[in-house]
C-alpha cells in the first residue's frame, strides 16, 4: 500500500503470540493513520468499561502516511490507549525518530495486548520480532535504559522506554525516546508499565513505497523550500517554543503559582533568549524537521544534560511553581524525563500541593517534611522523586490532581486545575475565551495541542464570546488532528505559516489517492466525534458537566499581572458550550445527535 508500511503488528503479551496483519485499506481510507488508527482500534478492540490497567486494555502505536518520508516534520507517532488518568481517551504524540523507523520496519501500527508475566522489552528488527527479558533494565531511568540499549544494538536502533514511574503505575507516567522526546500525556507510560513492557527497540531497513516518486520528490522539495523561506525560521530555530514565554507573560497567559495569575514577576529569567544564552548547547530536531524546536541544554549548577525545557515545561515547572531560574527548571525537567513522568501534569499536581501548603491544608507532617512553598526548587526536586516512586506524600500526587483533591477535600477541588481529570497545560485562561473553550472540549482533557486558540483570542478580543470564536476552535480541532493522522508535525504550518495547500500534492503523490482539505477535515471531524463517543461509552453519565473548566477561571480573578481583575463569567462559560454543541451537531448535554453520527458514517461505533 503506497505511503504505508503495510502491516499491523499485534503482540499478545500474556501469551507471547506475535502476528502481523495487512493494514486494512478501508481503515486507511476513513482514518488515514496515526491518531485515526488509534481511536479506530481502541473503539473496535478494547471492550467497553475495560480497566485501563487490566488485560483488556491495549496500547496502539501508529505512524501515518507522511511518517518517514521526505516531508517536513514527518516524525510524529501516536500512542493511543484507555487513559488511567482520566478513564477516557488518551492519545499522546511522540516526536523524534521512532515513527520513521516503524515505517522502515514495514509497520503502520503496533498493538500491544494483555499483560506480560515478567518484565520484557519488545525487539523489532525488520521481520524479526521478539519479546526479550528486561529484568536487568527494570527500575532504571529512561536515559540510562536508552543509553544501554543503544550501546548494545547501535545508533540506528530507535528506543522508546518508560522510567520507574511507569513501572509504578503513576497515572501520568510518560514514554521517553531520543533522550528527551516524549509521548507525554494521559498516563501512556503507566499502561506500558502495567503491561510489564519496559521498552521497545526498533530497527528497519525497508523502503517505503510511494505511488508517484518524481511528483512526491518535487512536492517534498517544495514543502522544504517553503519552510526555509519562512520569515520566522531563524528565530524559531534559535528559540523554539521558548520564543513565546515572553509574549505569554506579557498577555497574562503564563501560568503562575497554580494559575492564580498569568504573569510572573521573575518571568524574565525564563525567557527564550536567557535560556539560549545560559544553558542551550545545541538544536535537536525530530525526523526531517527543517525548524528544530528541540533545544538541548547543559546546566552548570547541576552539571546535567537535558532536552529542553520547552514552553510547556517552563510554564508548568517554572512560573506555575514560582521557580524563576532556568537551570532549576531544566533540572526538574530532567528528573521528570528520567523518572518517566509528564512535566505538564507533574507541574500541575505540585502547584496544587504548594497552594494547599500555603493555605495550611497541608503541613510539613503531610508532606514528609518538605517545605512546599512556591519557589522552593529543592522541594520540587524531592517531590518529583517521591511522585515517581509513589513514596509517602508522593503517592497522593501520583494519582493526579483530580483524585488527589477529591481525597484531600477542604475546598482544594476548587483550585485543582484540570478538565476531565487531566491537568491543564501552560496557558492561563482567566480571560481568553477561545483558549478556555479549547481546554474544556479537548478530547483528552485540558491539553493545548488540539486547538491553540490563544493567539486568536488576542487578535479578535480576548473577552468576546461569539459564534465566530467557537467556529474557529472547532475548525482548529478538526484540522489540526490531520497532522497527527498523517504522522507529521503541525508546527511548520502553525509557526512557519507555510501554505497548507502544499501538503496536498505530496499526499496524493505518496498514496496515489487525491484528497482535498474539505475531505480531510471531514476525517478530522469523524475522529473528533468518535473520541467523544468513546468518552460517552466509557463513563456513565458523561456529558456537559465534564466539559466545565477549573472554577479558578470563572471565580478567581488574578490579583497581579496583565490579567489582574479579569475573569470569564460563568454564564459565558455556559454560552461557549451552547454555541459549541450547536455547531458540532451535539445535544445540549454534549452528545452527538443521531444525524451527526449518520453524517459521519459512525453508526457502527454506537453501542
Amino acid at each position: 500500500m503506497n505511503g504505508y508500511g503495510g502491516s499491523v503488528l499485534r503482540v499478545n503479551l500474556s501469551t507471547g503470540q506475535i502476528q502481523k496483519q495487512p493494514t486494512p485499506q478501508d481503515v486507511a481510507r476513513d482514518f488515514l493513520g496515526g491518531r485515526g488508527f488509534g481511536i479506530y482500534f481502541l473503539t473496535k478492540e478494547v471492550p467497553p468499561k475495560a480497566d485501563p490497567f487490566g488485560q483488556e486494555n491495549k496500547m496502539i502505536i501508529s505512524s501515518g502516511p507522511f511518517s518517514g518520508l521526505m516531508i517536513p516534520g514527518a516524525g510524529k507517532c501516536d500512542w493511543t490507549t484507555k487513559s488511567p488518568l482520566t478513564g477516557g481517551y488518551a492519545s499522546a504524540s511522540l516526536g523524534g525518530h521512532f515513527t520513521a523507523e516503524l515505517k522502515y520496519a514495514g509497520l503502520d501500527s503496533i498493538i500491544l495486548e494483555g499483560i506480560s508475566p515478567k518484565p520484557v522489552y519488545l525487539f523489532i528488527d525488520d521481520n524479526q520480532v521478539e519479546l526479550r527479558d528486561a529484568s536487568h533494565l527494570w527500575g532504571k531511568g529512561s536515559i540510562t535504559v536508552e543509553k544501554e540499549l543503544k550501546e548494545q544494538y547501535g545508533e540506528e536502533y530507535q528506543i522508546a522506554t518508560i522510567g520507574p514511574a511507569g513501572e509504578n503505575g503513576v497515572l501520568f507516567a510518560h514514554i521517553n525516546h531520543d533522550y528527551g522526546r516524549q509521548a507525554g500525556r494521559g498516563g501512556v507510560g503507566a499502561v506500558l508499565g502495567t503491561k510489564k513492557v519496559k521498552a521497545i527497540v526498533l530497527h528497519g531497513t525497508k523502503s517505503i513505497p510511494v505511488a508517484d516518486l518524481p511528483a512526491y520528490r518535487q512536492a517534498g522539495i517544495n514543502l522544504f523550500k517553503a519552510c526555509k523561506d519562512a520569515e520566522i525560521l531563524k528565530e524559531w530555530q534559535s528559540y523554539g517554543t521558548t520564543m513565546v514565554v515572553s509574549w505569554c507573560d506579557e498577555v497574562g497567559a503564563l501560568p503562575t503559582r497554580n494559575f492564580t495569575a498569568g504573569s510572573f514577576e521573575d518571568g524574565k529569567n525564563l525567557y527564550g533568549p536567557v535560556m539560549r544564552k545560559t544553558i542551550v548547547v545545541s538544536d535537536k530536531g525530530c525526523f526531517a524537521c527543517p525548524s528544530p524546536c528541540g533545544k538541548y541544554s547543559h546546566t552548570r549548577r547541576y552539571n546535567t544534560y537535558v532536552e529542553g525545557p520547552e514552553y510547556e515545561t517552563i510554564g508548568m515547572l517554572g512560573s506555575d511553581l514560582g521557580l524563576g531560574n532556568i537551570e532549576d527548571v531544566a533540572q526538574a525537567n530532567l528528573l521528570c524525563d528520567d523518572l518517566g513522568i509528564d512535566t505538564i501534569s507533574t507541574g500541575g499536581v505540585i502547584a496544587w500541593a504548594m497552594e494547599c501548603f500555603e493555605r495550611g491544608i497541608f503541613t510539613k507532617k503531610d508532606t514528609d517534611g518538605l517545605e512546599l512553598k512556591f519557589g522552593n526548587a529543592q522541594a520540587v526536586f524531592a517531590l518529583i522523586e517521591k511522585i515517581a516512586r509513589k513514596d509517602g506524600f508522593g503517592a497522593l500526587l501520583a494519582e493526579g490532581v483530580k483524585r488527589a483533591s477529591q481525597k484531600t477535600g477542604q475546598g482544594s477541588e476548587k483550585f485543582a486545575i484540570h478538565v476531565k481529570g487531566m491537568e491543564q497545560s501552560a496557558y492561563a485562561t482567566h480571560n481568553a475565551t477561545a483558549m478556555l473553550l479549547a481546554y474544556m472540549t479537548c478530547d483528552v482533557g485540558a491539553h493545548h495541542n488540539r486547538a491553540w486558540a490563544i493567539t486568536y483570542d488576542i487578535q479578535v478580543g480576548r473577552e468576546k464570546v461569539t459564534t465566530e470564536k467557537v467556529a474557529r476552535v472547532i475548525w482548529l480541532q478538526n484540522f489540526r488532528p490531520m497532522f497527527d493522522v498523517l504522522g507529521a508535525c503541525r508546527l511548520q504550518w502553525v509557526e512557519l505559516s507555510i501554505d497548507r495547500d502544499l501538503y496536498l500534492p505530496a499526499l496524493q503523490a505518496i498514496t496515489g489517492i487525491p484528497r482535498s482539505w474539505k475531505d480531510l477535515e471531514t476525517v478530522g471531524e469523524r475522529i473528533w466525534n468518535l473520541t467523544r463517543l468513546y468518552w460517552i461509552r466509557e463513563i456513565d453519565g458523561f456529558g456537559r458537566e465534564w466539559d466545565l473548566p477549573a472554577p479558578r477561571f470563572y471565580e478567581d480573578a488574578p490579583k497581579t499581572g496583565a490579567t489582574a481583575g479579569q475573569i470569564t463569567r460563568f454564564e459565558d462559560v455556559q454560552k461557549l458550550l451552547d454555541y459549541y454543541y450547536e455547531q458540532r451537531g451535539w445535544s445540549k448535554n454534549g452528545i452527538p445527535t443521531p444525524e451527526t453520527i449518520a453524517r459521519l458514517n459512525l453508526e457502527q461505533f454506537v453501542y
Binding site: G68, L69, M70, P72, G75, H97, A100, Y104, I143, K147, E155, E156, D178, Y179, T205, K206, S207, I208, V210, L213, R217, G220, I221, F224, K225, C227, K228, L233, Q237, V281, S282, D283, K284, G285, C286, F287, A288, C289, P290, S291, P292, G294, Y296, S297, H298, Y305
Partner: protein, 135 residues
Amino acid sequence: MRLYVDSTRCSGCKACLVACSLNLFQENNPKKSALVILPHFPAPGNYEVKTCTQCGDCAQVCPMEAIKVNERGAYYVDMDECNLCEACVSECPEGVMFIRSELADTAWKCDLCGDCVTVCGTGALWIAETETAVA
C-alpha cells in the same frame, strides 16, 4: 566541487539521508544514503556529520574501475560494474563509502546531487569549490 558540512548546525533530523536515498536509489530509505550522522547523546549533546570530500581515493583502489567521474565532477559508483569487493570501503578516510549487501548489490557514495542541501533547514550542508591543500 564538494559537499561541506558544519556539524554544529546539524540537528540530526535526517532529512538529508532520505533525500539522498531518493536520488541514489529512487527509494525512501535513509539506510541507503551516503552521509553519516553520529549523535552524541546524552552528553555532550551534539551531532557529528561525515560527508564525502571527493578525494578520489575510492576510485584509485577500485579494481573494477567502477568509480567514475560524473558531469558535476564528482566520483560516483557505476552500480552495474561494482563487484562488492569492499576495497573502497576500507580506503575511505571519512567512512562514507557504503556496502550493505543485504540492502543493495552495489557499493554507493555521494554523487554530489545536492538534494541534501536543498532539504537541510539549518544550513549545515553546502556545496562549494574544493579548497586546494597548501603544500
